[in-house]
């Protein structure tokens, strides 16, 4: 991991409570931050001379929802959405994983996509990756310059990579199931 073990304490001293959690024992160690601090932390890890994480490799949204009600009690997690940012540095040859936890729906209203600050002002890669995440996983990135669907048609309904997504029965006269 970038910055070694010192990185976590360095980030904690700079951002305090915004660093919510971390797992440095995992195969890919990760640091969890609160959504409010995402852009600031991103800009810091990109510009810091020791980190220089100038490349954003990938943005992923993981939907944590057990749809089977029998298994839900034993699932071991509350339903939530997890954003994963994989960063790497070309000059320093190291990587870092940032995670952000979001609610599955905004204010608990089913169908209202949750909001997450956009990092497209920090890395241009995020532009298309966030559009894809919005398209497939249903996250609204505040501050994104052009947030519209990228892979699905613009009039598509729903977010296919959500665990409770239902395939539409038909789309413009084409049978779905």
């Amino acid at each position: 991991m970038a910055g070694g073990d010192g990185l976590l304490s360095k980030l904690k001293s700079k951002f305090g409570d915004q660093i919510v959690g971390a797992n440095l024992e995992a195969i890919d160690p990760w640091i969890e931050i609160s959504p409010d601090a995402l852009v600031e932390v991103s800009r810091f890890v990109r510009d810091d001379a020791a980190l220089k994480l100038e490349m954003l490799n990938c943005i992923t949204a993981v939907d944590w929802l057990e749809v089977d009600p029998k298994k839900a009690a034993k699932a071991g997690f509350e339903p939530h959405l997890e954003m994963v940012y994989h960063l790497s540095s070309i000059s320093k040859r190291h990587t870092l994983v940032l995670k952000v936890k979001l609610p599955r729906w905004k204010d608990g209203v089913e169908g209202e996509a949750p909001e997450c600050p956009s990092v497209s002002s920090v890395w241009s890669t995020a532009d298309w990756h966030e559009r894809e995440t919005y398209d497939l996983s249903g996250v609204i990135f505040t501050g994104h310059p052009n947030l519209r669907r990228i892979l699905c048609p613009e009039d598509w309904v729903g977010y296919p990579l959500r665990k409770d997504y239902q395939m539409p029965l038909e789309y413009h006269g084409i049978r779905g199931r």
């Binding site: 195969i27 490349m55 490799n57 992923t60 993981v62 994963v84 994989h86």
Partner: protein, 401 residues
């Protein structure tokens, strides 16, 4: 030959033109699949390019949430269908990383042979198709003639010619057949002198140079900012190749191999005295350099295959027996990137302890490479659009997934 017009007023005084939206694609031959570009043009000059993707979208990631990792291998084939072997490898390594499964020496060398051959095949199509984009047909035939022989070799190994599903988590589905190494050696010996033909047809061709030099210049900063990888990044002079700089699980495959990252350092490519010189019009990061990096990588891959064959034939251990079809995955998440022909292909796997992944994500290299196209296509003539898009060497199957 600079085609970017700095002073837009020159056109305005010359001819009065209206802005026009021109639709390019989705079936335009130079778009390498079904990509649609909407160009905002002012006469001949393009002021804005908007790519529209998704015509090949199959939601492979959703399918991955319903299959075991080994069952998903055929779907990785169909992402970058011109480099199926390299895609198999990316996913196989990702699963092995989660399982903490280590391979024997022999299995690693086998993978190097197969993947570098896959890289040659893929770059040959990239080269031939780029010729097509620029209006010359012959290089395509020359490229396919050689690619055919690689496909024949792959067919002997796994029975398929395009969607191989050969490399699997745990190793590969079978060992190399008897006598295969000799055939491969034969192919390389025959292929070596042909490279000069390619250089004569394209690299040093006067028209080709005029069409590609100083066109679509991508600065290293911009390339990194947009997440461009592979030959597109190295064509801008960034010294970065995951085979050397990647994760240990991947670079250990190439441990002890002699190879130099193909990129221009201090005005020189590695061993460039053996190959055509860089034209004086070429600017680092233009279409010509991206093309040249691919051509040199073909030669590099041939060298790597030769080294790998020597090691494979004396290595001990088995060829890597695949894991069981429904192996239980430990809870956790792993991300791994490999150097596919088109750039860094990343796979992200999240597991909650079952034998089916909770979430699968494919980070497509062409997706990021294409995202820079609206930036570098600003202010170029329409005729340069195929030259620029072609030089990014995209495969839509991988972008749309």
């Amino acid at each position: 030959m600079a085609t970017q017009i700095d002073d837009q007023r020159i056109i305005e005084f010359d001819v009065r033109t209206d802005e026009m939206l021109v639709n390019m694609g989705p079936q335009h031959p130079s778009t390498h699949g079904v990509l649609r570009l909407v160009l905002r043009t002012d006469g001949e000059i393009v002021s804005e390019v908007t790519p529209h993707l998704g015509y090949l979208h199959r939601c492979a990631e959703k399918i991955g949430e319903n299959l075991t990792p080994r069952q998903w291998i055929p779907y990785t084939d169909r992402m970058d269908y011109l480099a199926g072997m390299n895609m198999n490898l990316g996913w196989a390594l990702c699963v092995e990383k989660l399982l903490q499964h280590d391979l024997s020496e022999k299995a690693k060398h086998l993978r190097v042979i197969i993947c570098e051959m896959g890289r040659i095949a893929s770059h040959l199509v990239g080269m031939g198709a780029y010729g097509l984009d620029l209006g010359t047909f012959s290089p395509f035939l020359y490229a396919f003639r050689e690619r055919e022989r690689i496909l024949d070799l792959f067919e002997e190994v796994c029975g398929a010619r395009l969607t191989y599903s050969y490399i699997t988590p745990g190793g590969a589905t079978a060992d190399l057949p008897k006598g295969w190494l000799q055939k491969c050696e034969q192919f390389l010996d025959q292929f070596q002198p042909i490279i000069a033909e390619y250089h004569a047809l394209l690299t040093t061709n006067a028209i080709f140079i005029k069409r590609t030099c100083d066109i679509g210049v991508l600065t290293p900063e911009m390339a990194i900012d947009f997440g461009c990888t592979g030959p597109v990044l190295r064509g801008s002079g960034v010294d970065y190749d995951l085979r050397r700089d990647g994760e240990e699980r991947y670079t250990e495959m190439y441990d002890g191999y002699a190879f130099e990252v193909i990129c221009q350092k201090d005005g020189h490519y590695p061993k460039d005295h053996q190959y055509p010189a860089v034209p004086k019009d070429a600017v680092l990061g233009d279409c010509w350099h991206r093309f040249y990096v691919r051509m040199l990588e073909v030669i590099q891959s041939m060298d790597l295959v030769r080294q790998a064959m020597d090691r494979y034939s004396v290595a001990s251990g088995d060829w890597g027996v695949p894991i069981k079809l429904a192996t239980k995955l430990p809870p956790g998440d792993v991300y791994l990137e490999t150097e596919a022909p088109r750039g860094q292909m990343g796979f992200y796997l999240v597991s909650n302890g079952g034998n089916i992944p909770w979430r699968v994500r494919a980070r497509s290299s062409s997706f990021c490479n294409l995202s820079v196209c609206p930036e570098i296509c600003k202010g170029v003539p329409i005729a340069d659009i195929p030259a620029i898009v072609g030089s990014l060497d995209i495969v839509m199957g991988e972008i749309d997934r």
